[in-house]
Subunit: 280 residues, 3 copies
């Protein structure tokens, strides 16, 4: 184990919730390194957290432990799980927030068109290379257990003990299925045309879509977004036109404005369509 | 000592003030672990910092050093103090910001009704189990001393030296009294009725009151806030009604909206009343 | 080397960009301590980052590595550099963001009056005590290299390897000039009068100017800002009048409002003039 534990939450920066989790972790493993991924996930926005986590976990050392707390069902019967991948451990409520980290193993033929509220489905089996545990054994929890903040009372202490080398089965039973929502993919409306959607808008107002670099048809392309055409792809923000498109740092097609905000210029929002076709 | 130093400040995230404190600490103790509790305390809002600190310090390892910088009197004659409790060290201006961490030792009969501006009183003696030092010896400070940022020039270096094992008396004289404001408590207007107040509104718009779980009368309860009735307590956000009340993760009565903001729905603000009576 | 790496960026807190940089650093040097200086630099605001960095780097241990990512030219021909000073290492795009840390070595007679957009000039030679490297050797980078996020793919891994003791020349060629913009200085319009400018507005609404404590004429002073007079300098926020001026914690003249915001009261903004003359 590396002793690195990351946090992705909707707990914000104005309260002491995140610090309470850190205190619990350090009380158990004083040598843990707790790294903030993001705490400004919109409250209860599971898909936003799922998206962000997937853009970043691959940059951490092998066996890093990632805690994700976007947990509207806390205190209900929703499960708390540990998902072990070849690269990392994920601790989260079983509410779909780990969907994107399993997305590469999702059968492409079962992919769906983007919807603003994707249906949560119970996977029949775990994707290859994954193991999962339902966290049920209270021995490693922080007592008393609040019914509203399992991030502090269950996930933080379990992560800390895991970072000390406690083995997975000590935390609960192995399970063979978890909940996930189908990762959105671009689709074709007409031959040669690809319709994608904005999945994330970053601080710069860049519009990040579900069209990956590998989805792109070869040859010259013509994009359209919010009625505005974009001819071809740029290689950097600096070398493009005012309104430009490029493959961004997460590997996805991104619409940007040089030294400005594409979101503001276009009035764009999550879920908006981006179309792509070969240039005539 | 643990080497863990926490920071609770109104210094915000848009400047480099917090980082300057960390730089000073690490220059003295490169092995210190500096943990952010909160930096978005409203400027000069002493009671908000006092409240937040109290919800979180108990989750940190014994002997953690907590620095609190909400310091409108910096550069004046206000004292800088170290308060040692059985569980932790606190470094702060002597302006009441440590009131809540001493509140459990405050004589209940001297408690007061909530007011938006609580009067600062000089405690006759320290509560049992506490020791205090007035920080007066310049030997451990970072020179030159600015008259506007003792967080960086006095508190940070003193905390760093304390984390290295320098003993309390090296930093100044023992004192037997500090300033505090009386912690607000709910009160009874009519028999069986309890009136509390909103002390904190969190990121989710949850309204956290001064009514603790132990204050609650037994039996079925009826709440009223902003003219809206709430019947009984829920056990979690997920299992309650749209507008609900429960004992939150800090042990206090909290009014919440499922997947929404009670603060927005009710137009509630700090200091607003919540009343509680047995259900007929 | 200390193993301390700081980050000053315009990457914000709503995405996972900063965390990706930390993951890359920790993958190379698991013992690195990564400290956030500020991530809320206004997008592409090079001079704001340059200013903040200069107020804080001196408080860090010798040989701390400071990464600055405000990089509108990422992916273009702009150079990526390491600047070595006696006190610290700086890694940044060669776009002027390191101007202020070299400002003390800038010939005063070549100083300029404040302009909202300062011209970037190529220094003929590095100021005394500085060394610079153009980062060109891909061996230490994180592959594949995105054309839009060199913070993650070039600067973070280079900093991590540098913190492990890799020597400067392994990262690229020594260069003898870098880009910088002339640091703004106050100027005299009439004899005895000094005109300065607001360079930064902090979280409290304090107005920090380019007039340093050393620039001040001796004797009693009269300030004027936004048509409002201020008589003399205060020694602290607490002991001044409602609207006051003092030498702030960065060593510069600062206009403040006691328990309030000078920026709001005066409607002040970056670049506004502050005039100073001896009191009649």
């Amino acid at each position: 184990m590396t002793g690195i534990i990351t946090l992705t939450t909707d707990l914000g920066a104005q309260d002491a919730y995140v610090a309470a989790m850190k205190g619990v972790i350090l009380s158990i493993n004083p040598d843990a390194q707790v790294i903030d991924i993001c705490h400004s996930i919109e409250p209860q926005n599971i898909s936003q957290a799922a998206f962000l986590l997937n853009t970043v976990y691959g940059y951490f050392p092998k066996d890093t432990i990632h805690i994700v707390i976007v947990d509207p069902g806390v205190g209900s019967q929703r499960r708390a799980i540990i998902l072990k991948a070849s690269q990392a451990f994920f601790l989260a409520p079983d509410n779909g927030v780990l969907s994107y980290v399993m997305a590469h193993a999702w059968p492409r033929e079962k992919s769906v068109r983007y919807k603003s509220s994707l249906p949560l489905v119970k996977l029949k089996r775990l994707p290859p290379g994954f193991q999962a545990i339902s966290i049920t054994k209270a021995k490693f929890w922080h007592h008393p257990i609040s019914s509203t903040f399992h991030g502090r009372d269950i996930f933080a202490p379990v992560a800390a003990h895991l970072s000390l080398g406690v083995s997975l089965e000590e935390f609960g039973e192995a399970i063979t299925s978890v909940n996930a929502f189908p990762p959105p993919h671009p689709y074709s409306k007409a031959k040669g045309q690809l319709i994608g959607h904005i999945l994330h808008i970053d601080r710069f107002g860049n519009l990040i879509t579900d069209i990956s670099g590998e989805d792109l048809p070869s040859g010259k392309l013509r994009l359209e977004i919010a009625g505005q055409p974009i001819e071809g792809l740029s290689t950097s923000y600096a070398e493009g036109n005012q309104l430009l498109a490029l493959i961004g740092s997460s590997g996805y097609l991104e619409v940007a404005v040089k030294n400005g905000s594409a979101a503001s210029l276009l009035g764009a929002k999550i879920g908006d369509e981006v179309s792509l076709k070969p240039k005539d």
